[in-house]
């Protein structure tokens, strides 16, 4: 009984929670429902049933190009974020040096700064330096906003890993690299995987960096959908959005499997 909710207050809390669950799911459910309507325009409730809008979306060259570009960009950004974030997290958790707190805040500072402004500041820098390689510029921007998430998840799993095992391995004569590879990595692997997957999604969904740095040849999915919302009024926008929702659900399932959702977000 201890700690369980009870009494009339409990009913109020549970009702609010149920209402909020509906609130959270409503825009997703509505989008899915609209995508199957057998009409040329968007209507609710949907009339009939058709998958033609999915067929149309999957044949849309702009959408396919955007999917391909977003996937590549997110993969590259994830690799970049891991390369920068994992060593940094390791130093933060396992090394003792002056100013650790300050360094930790610095590494996480892109999460505090408005991402939209990070993007426009990068645009200014790239314009000034005459960096005109759009994919590379976007990659830099995406690594900048995904790396802090990797630092956070890796640091969280490192601090949960059992350090006495590493000491034991070392006592038994293993060198640092071997200890890292055989003892530390297996322990933090779920956290790393969750962090990497989360970084992938952060990059895949990123809008406020891409807004400034993308061009017509390199148009990621969120930007494409944003443009379509203003110009296309058929249910194909809903179909594309539904595909994105299903993709996200798949990732959530995997995240939950690998290491727990809340751990992935290090909250």
């Amino acid at each position: 009984m201890s700690g369980r909710l009870q009494g009339p207050a409990a009913w109020l809390l549970v009702s609010i929670t149920l209402a909020m669950m509906l609130f959270i799911l409503a825009p997703l459910l509505v989008t899915i429902a609209t995508s199957i309507t057998n009409t040329q325009y968007i209507i609710f409730p949907p009339r009939g049933f058709t998958l033609q809008w999915y067929g149309k979306a999957l044949q849309d060259e702009d959408f396919l190009a955007a999917m391909w570009f977003s996937t590549l960009l997110a993969l590259a950004a994830t690799v970049g974020a891991l390369l920068l974030g994992v060593p940094a997290a390791f130093a933060l958790v396992r090394c003792d040096f002056a100013g650790r707190g300050a360094v930790a805040s610095m590494l996480l500072s892109p999460l505090v700064f408005p991402v939209l402004i990070t993007g426009v500041a990068l645009l200014q820098l790239f314009a000034m330096l005459r960096f005109d390689n759009t994919p590379l510029n976007m990659l830099i921007g995406h690594v900048l906003v995904t790396a802090p998430y990797v630092v956070r998840t890796t640091a969280a799993s490192l601090s949960l890993a059992d350090i006495t095992l590493e000491d034991a391995a070392r006592t038994l004569g293993a060198d640092s690299w071997r200890v890292f590879r055989r003892i530390t990595v297996p322990q933090i692997a779920p956290g790393l995987a969750a962090g990497a997957l989360f970084a992938f999604m952060i990059s895949f969904d990123n809008f406020p960096i891409s807004l400034w740095l993308a061009d017509a040849q390199h148009n990621p999915v969120p930007l494409l959908i944003f443009q379509m919302i203003a110009s296309v009024f058929e249910p194909s926008v809903a179909a594309i959005s539904t595909l994105m929702i299903l993709f996200a659900i798949a990732i959530v399932m995997i995240l939950e499997r690998v290491g727990g959702l809340r751990r992935a977000m290090a909250m």
Binding site: G3, A9, L13, I16, T17, L25, P27, L28, V30, T31, I42, F44, L83, L84, P87, A88, A89, A91, R94, C95, D96, F97, A104, L108, S109, V112, F113, P114, L116, I117, V120, A121, L123, Q124, L125, V143, L144, A156, I163, R170, G173, D175, S176, M201, D205, F207, L211, P222, I225, I229, S241, M244, I249, V252, E256, L261, R262, M265, A266, M267
Partner: protein, 309 residues
């Protein structure tokens, strides 16, 4: 958030002396080598451009588009003295504050139910709360556009007319209210998760004790739960406020002309008007608001930690 355990006892010091075959690098250089790539990357692609943008806001743009001296505060004056822009600033603050306040009122019940339920229900609530975070903001906002649509084709209006709650469709889309609803949806998890994590640490026996001693639910909340969850509340409020203030997609799709926010203004000034210095000034105002909110939150958390000691 920001859960890097810097307070944890340093581990490597005790071991430094007895590592038989350590790395080739001297022990003290290891953290430097591990951190250098990240810090260098941040310096070049984050700190430098951020300072560059801020410096643009006090420079002058010549007729041919080049930006340089003389230094001027004219762009800030222009921002604060023009009613149109001052209005955007006020709207931004208003929308962010209202979204945060609603998130607090609705976030506590959800976080409490989440923490106090059986593992299965807790997992279900966690997934529903977090899952939308992984769906692109653009897609979620599109869903809200469908729901809030003006005229009888909007889903909310269809529902209202169908159930006879209203006789004629209500106009919600393209207003501040629409942006508040959209922002609340996008950033609600940022309130619930820190709250749930703070609530999870409260010893449930404290509440039982309060209740046994005759306290009402409201009193128990006010005297036990609220003060003990203050750190989570502070983090949640800061996140929801600063993320809402800095948002672009939600006001751009749902705001129309009356719900415009600073982010949209920055985008218009730079990508459409090409007025870099003025756009930079608007951006700097936005950064000041967000960093100000974070500073207040750090202060609150620090004071609390001192009292707790």
């Amino acid at each position: 958030m920001a859960s890097i355990p810097v307070d944890a006892a340093p581990i490597s010091r005790s071991r430094a002396s007895r590592s038989p075959r350590g790395l080739a690098l001297p022990k003290r250089l290891v953290p430097a080598a591990l951190l250098l790539p990240s810090l260098l990357f941040l310096a070049v692609f984050f700190a430098l451009p951020a300072l560059g943008l801020i410096s643009y806001s006090v420079l002058t743009q010549a007729a041919d588009g080049t930006i340089g001296l003389p230094l001027t505060l004219e762009h800030y004056w222009h921002f604060f003295a023009t009613p149109l822009y001052a209005r955007v600033l006020l709207t931004t603050l208003e929308i962010s504050l209202i979204a945060t306040a609603i998130a607090v009122v609705l976030g506590y019940p959800v976080a409490l139910v989440m923490v106090r339920s059986s593992p299965l229900i807790r997992q279900a609530i966690t997934i529903i709360v977090i899952a939308p975070l992984i769906v692109s903001v653009v897609v979620r906002t599109y869903g809200w556009q469908l729901i809030l649509g003006n005229g009888p084709t909007g889903i909310l209006n269809w529902l209202l007319l169908k159930t006879g709650i209203t006789k004629s469709p209500v106009a919600l889309l393209y207003s501040e209210t629409a942006v508040v609803i959209g922002s609340l949806h996008v950033f609600f998890p940022m309130m619930v998760l820190p709250l749930a994590s703070a609530l999870g640490k409260i010893d449930p026996r404290l509440e039982d004790a309060a209740r046994t001693l005759g306290a009402t639910s409201w009193r128990t909340f006010r005297r036990i739960i609220l003060p003990l969850s203050l750190p989570g509340l502070t983090v949640g409020c800061t996140l929801v406020f600063s993320l809402t203030a800095g948002s672009f997609v939600t006001p751009a799709i749902l705001g129309g002309s009356s719900g415009q926010m600073l982010g949209v203004l920055v985008e218009q000034q730079i990508l459409i008007v090409y007025n870099w210095p003025f756009g930079a000034a608007c951006a700097t105002v936005l950064v000041a608001i967000v960093l100000g909110a974070n500073l207040v939150s750090v202060r609150v958390l620090e004071r609390r930690r001192r009292i707790a000691r």
